[in-house]
Subunit: 218 residues, 2 copies
Amino acid sequence: MDYQVIKVKEDVLQENSKRADELRKYLKSKGVYMINVMASPGSGKTTLLVNIINKLKNKYRIGVMEADIDGEVDAKRINELTGVKTIQIHTSGACHLTAQMTHDAINEFGVDNIDLLFLENVGNLVCPAEFDTGSNINMMLLSVPEGDDKPLKYPLMFEVSKIAVITKIDTAEIFDFNYERCEQNIHKRNPDAKVFKVSALNDQGTDELVKYLESIIE
Amino acid sequence: MDYQVIKVKEDVLQENSKRADELRKYLKSKGVYMINVMASPGSGKTTLLVNIINKLKNKYRIGVMEADIDGEVDAKRINELTGVKTIQIHTSGACHLTAQMTHDAINEFGVDNIDLLFLENVGNLVCPAEFDTGSNINMMLLSVPEGDDKPLKYPLMFEVSKIAVITKIDTAEIFDFNYERCEQNIHKRNPDAKVFKVSALNDQGTDELVKYLESIIE
């Protein structure tokens, strides 16, 4: 049974990479840059997106695809607070998005009038990291309340993310969080990772992140 | 491909349930009660365990199995702060524990002198809920910083957990967390769930949880 599972998983991942490459080509042909946003549940993905979208929306035509196992609170919130085009994807219980699921959602969403597409993945620090969604870049969030040791315990998420955003820094005083140790832990997993520190609620540090995003969006 | 994946998953879950039942029988024969602890990364599983183990250890011979994808900070911490027998399980990248993995770990650990066994599952609010580990009961944690809407987004975790512990209540002032709404959301998923509110660091609310655990441990 174990062998069968591993074999199927290898096939699935290989097939997924192929589909992801196809999707990236398609998005390029449509002039769309896609950012895959990943993090644990409750680490502040939606709040950060609202903040940076409001800073980017005069420059780019933005779309947001919100993936959750159930519920649609996030899609509603993003749309209400930014006015940009949003859809909610339900994963039918799945713990991550595949490239195929992302492609299907994009087909439904329509990207004719979109330059910049944010994909908010399922809240999960493990599985989404295994599946290339077809995005141009992965941006992961780690919130201060989660602790600075997370890169040690969830290696793959940090390895595959070019951007690591430490969120909720306004709460650092009440949590035992060491930025220096955290950055060291992140760079152990990915020496090239760009690390940002933000409080999206207090609008701290998000200008730097927005500036960086503007520099990489093609 | 999709059908194949679903079929394999069904087989895996069916096989897993069988193994879980076998493991429960084995543990019963050894006089061991096992509690499976699940939550997102950084929601305070280890801190809560340290607190309640120190309250329970004079009454029970306790063991702790810590599962992580990588790292061994938790096992060390539990052992240093409670003195009870602890091992670290590495899941080789897997996002959850199966009954078979749990059984293998128990065989290595040895439960001859154990009455109460805590299994700290991988930090993940999705996948661990799908796999019966062979435990007697599931205890899930939701930390205040994660937000009161999580039962809406991660239904299965709340459905399969008889005990739901809201942690880090000492931080409620700075987060927009509504206990009443959270409890309603939890009971929508599982009307029989016992909900506790604790701050393990400040030793708030853990006596009630300990009392409840003492009432159910066989």
